[in-house]
Amino acid sequence: MNLKKVLPLKHIVLSLLSSALLLSVVGLLMQVKTDMFKNVGTIYLNLNMQTAAANAVTSVVTFFRGIDTVGEVTVLFLATSGVALMLSATQRTCDKVVKQESFILNAGSRLLLSVIILFGVYIIIHGHLSPGGGFQGGVVIATAFLLLFLANPNMKLSHGILTLGESLSGATYVLVVIIGLFKMNILLGNFLPHPIGEIGELISGGIIPVVYILVGIKVGSEMSVIVEYFVKEDYYKEVCDA
């Protein structure tokens, strides 16, 4: 056994370097005083009553730092478009999937599908009341489709509906941001009624649940598309190789 081959000099040097960096960075971070200034988060907490959303993280994500979320949704959208751009060509060259599907898996996954989607919708709708929200719920919905694809490789998603859901929810989200400008004279203003007394109710917090539902629809459809592309990529490869 050649030691040089298993552990080349470069790796040794780089591991020593990483360790040295680790030690000095840890040493540096140990001295950090984190309470020099008041965090902006505590101010948000104090202000949070006004948004009437029970979950402060949600109000930060969708309202106080709402434009971040627009950007985040855009990033996900762009990545989905990129994945589709890259992987869509394969489907033309090798279109047939002839893998045998199992009845039990198929039926079982369809049974579970509704439950998982219901759970995802619950997470989305209760985003402003409990931990969770659009992103988390969207991903849960996508896992439902993942299960479907795993059970039945011949399964096809209707891209028309997904695109419709994605585009419409995205466009509505942008419109919600712009309507705030006209109604409240500030972009992403909370223009829907949000009385503080209703905190903890399902319909409360003004635009916050609306935004999270839109985000949920968008993330759900985008993640489903990504999942579909990657799962099918695997099957195509097997079939094409055969």
Binding site: H11, L45, M49, R65, L76, A79, G82, M86
Partner: protein, 125 residues
Amino acid sequence: MLDFFNNTQTIHMIIIIGSMALFFIGFYGIATQKNLVKVLVSFDIMESALFLFFIGLHYQVGLVAPIVDKNLKTFTSMVDPVPQAMILTTIVIGLAVLALGLSFGIEYYKLTGRNDISKMNELRD
């Protein structure tokens, strides 16, 4: 005996050591690994280390999640919600980049049969 761990200082120390160790494992990974998938995984490890680090350092003993319910009517003695919001955003971005990178890698592998990044050198003069 476990009271020793019920101390913000100690928890922060553990988190710093743990997350930074994870971070530099990822650092070592991107410096030494040549397989594209492994490199992307190393990036993810580094990102995860940062999430741990950031969230962990904003936890203090005695604080709860920033959500009001029947028992907790006001937003007091809660952890800072901003790091959580930021981490949520960063996770989604990391996921997006990872998906994109994997799709590039798949296409490239299909065209050339290679996934070794040090051998990607057709772009040269």
